[in-house]
């Protein structure tokens, strides 16, 4: 028998007296499930201060973590997708785009900006996973291409932050050709001897891995990020076996020789700053 008994059943607080917790003030760490306060997250560069898990963040957060005083000039802001194939699955592509604009406040799955890191000029192009799974379509390709042109013209190093499920199916072969486009531009950047840092974050897969993400002068990542060409589910279906633990994590990719180092987000700015300093002197 219970020691205490409830007199009245149900919720009895009236709606007027209900206290609203502002949306997004508290967040649960997906790894250790502990509650994280928003202010603490910002303070700790969106890394869980209990378990060190790196929360998935977007361009807004990465810019604030990396750029000095969060100051930057956004580049090529107004590019957005056309619908060249009039693609339709359960929804029209144009509808899907409209929904994503409203939901995320973004114009596509990437933003580019020019700012400073520890006083070194840097252009960062950063993908946003919230926008149709961070998929790479014409806008992503074009913004990267223009950012590289900008870097060559102004002789500024380029940091690409990848976070993507791969090519955007709704632009089909146009998406595929963005792999060619970005890689060709990177060849020109390389010829101009301008440093290119590729930061692969959780998750980086598909056509993004098979183009610009793997082509850095240095390829770097954050702890525990999923990095691969084929997705784990597809590989599992192909080989009809369970995948080994830690397969396709950034640690695994480092071990196999495709990353230069893994850096904690809280030390990232200084480490990139040091690298840029070394390339200068």
């Amino acid at each position: 028998m219970a020691w205490f008994k409830r007199d009245k059943k149900g919720i009895i607080t009236s709606t007027e007296e209900k206290k609203e917790a502002p949306d997004g003030l508290w967040n649960k760490c997906p790894n250790c499930k502990k509650a994280l306060h928003y202010a603490d997250q910002v303070e700790n560069k969106y890394v869980c201060h209990y378990c060190g898990y790196h929360l998935r963040i977007g361009s807004k957060e990465y810019f604030s973590v990396l750029f000095d005083n969060n100051q930057f000039t956004e580049l090529f802001e107004n590019l957005h997708s056309g619908d060249p194939l009039e693609f339709k699955d359960n929804k029209n592509y144009t509808e899907r785009l409209q929904e994503s604009y409203t939901k995320t406040g973004l114009k596509d799955a990437i933003r580019a900006a020019h700012g400073k890191i520890n006083n070194h000029d840097l252009v960062i192009a950063c993908m946003d996973f919230n926008f149709i799974g961070g998929s790479m379509g014409s806008v992503v390709g074009e913004k990267i291409a223009r950012s590289i042109d900008y870097c060559i013209e102004h002789k500024i190093p380029f940091l690409m932050i990848s976070k993507s499920g791969g090519a955007r199916m709704m632009e089909a072969a146009f998406s595929l050709m963005q792999m060619a486009k970005t890689s060709a531009k990177l060849a020109l950047l390389s010829k101009a001897k301008i440093p290119y840092i590729s930061l692969l974050t959780d998750p980086t897969t598909g056509g993004v891995t098979a183009s610009y993400a793997m082509l850095g002068d240095i390829n770097i990542s954050e702890p525990g990020a999923l990095i691969g060409f084929a997705g784990p589910r597809v590989i599992k279906e192909t080989i009809k076996k369970d995948l080994p633990k830690g397969f396709q994590t950034s640690e695994f990719v480092l071990e196999h020789g495709f990353l230069d180092f893994i850096v904690d987000r809280r030390q990232m700015k200084n480490k990139i700053g040091t690298f840029l300093q070394m390339m200068k002197s």
Binding site: F174, M177, G207, F229
Partner: protein
């Protein structure tokens, strides 16, 4: 032909009737030539009708016809001499990508292509035309070799995709393809790429950066196969026909969208109906394009190659 697709049934039926009448006429010594001529005209018309109005999915089916010629068959029919070269000099020799120097009317050309198997055993040996990173690295090694000796490169593309396996990931499938895209865009010799069957995604593009990118009439080229597209969008393979339409993956659509430079006509019904004619058409096209590319300064050729790929995509400002 052993494999007949559903949409080819009217052709097979007519052919059956013709064969039957021929037999009867032989047996009974009755002259049926008038009926025969009529049926044959009808057959020719039906074939033309069917093959000039194929849907996206029907094209995909033809591109996968088991008797369709593959890379090595074309090389044998096109080249006077051919020396196959093996290995990426790092890990091994991938059987799904083949390559080597061949001679075309006296000119040396580096041929590289995906290779599928011609029977069950060979299909396994060739991994169904799905290359591992070693395949892409072998391709790059051979392209660099061609560049060193100033020989043009011709790639023949026919793959259902790069192999999505465990070892492929360990050895950097993504990096291998990415490296090829970068290196091919600035390779200092002319490159001609021809999609001869299936052009699926990064696995195809990994040897697909060229000054001239051409598709055989019934080949397809896209970011994903129709089956996998259907699986992702509808969680089942049942919508593959619809996916094939949506992806606009036919040669005609690809040319219309300015994502390729030209289409090579196939013999009526597909390359497998007349491989020799197909090979000689391909050979003529290669020679014509090589001649044009060779007559120009290589710096301009490379610059235009980069500009071509950089102009692809549709954005609104």
């Amino acid at each position: 032909m052993n494999t007949t697709f559903d949409f080819e049934k009217p052709i097979a039926d007519l052919q059956g009737q013709i064969d039957k009448i021929k037999q009867v006429s032989e047996k009974t010594k009755v002259d049926m030539s008038e009926t025969l001529t009529e049926l044959e005209t009808q057959l020719a018309r039906t074939r033309k009708d069917i093959y000039s109005n194929l849907t996206g999915w029907q094209n995909v089916q033809i591109s996968r016809h088991p008797e369709r010629p593959y890379t090595l068959a074309y090389i044998e029919m096109i080249c006077d001499d051919f020396i196959e070269m093996h290995g990426d000099r790092t890990v091994g020799d991938d059987k799904a990508i083949v390559g080597g120097f061949g001679t075309l009317n006296g000119e040396t050309v580096m041929f590289i292509g995906h290779q599928k198997g011609i029977n069950t055993k060979m299909r396994q040996y060739r991994n169904f035309g799905m290359a591992n990173p070693e395949g892409y690295r072998k391709a790059l090694r051979l392209m660099k070799l061609a560049e060193k000796f100033n020989k043009p490169v011709v790639t023949l593309i026919d793959t259902p995709g790069a192999y999505p396996g465990l070892e492929a990931e360990e050895r950097g499938q993504g990096e291998a393809i990415a490296r090829n895209l970068l290196e091919m865009s600035v390779l200092q010799v002319p490159i001609i790429c021809i999609i001869i069957g299936e052009g699926a995604s990064g696995g195809a593009l990994g040897i697909g950066i060229g000054d001239r990118v051409l598709m055989l009439e019934h080949s397809w080229y896209s970011v994903i196969s129709p089956e996998n597209c259907s699986a992702i969008l509808w969680r089942t393979w049942d919508f593959k026909e619809r996916a094939a339409e949506s992806l606009k993956l036919t040669a005609e659509n690809m040319l219309k969208n300015k994502l390729i430079d030209g289409i090579i006509k196939e013999p009526l019904g597909g390359a497998h109906y007349d491989p020799a004619t197909m090979a000689s058409t391909i050979k003529d096209q290669i020679l014509k394009d090589l001649h044009k590319l060779r007559s120009r300064d290589i710096d301009t050729v490379v610059k235009e190659r980069i500009e071509k790929f950089c102009s692809m995509g549709v954005v609104v400002e």
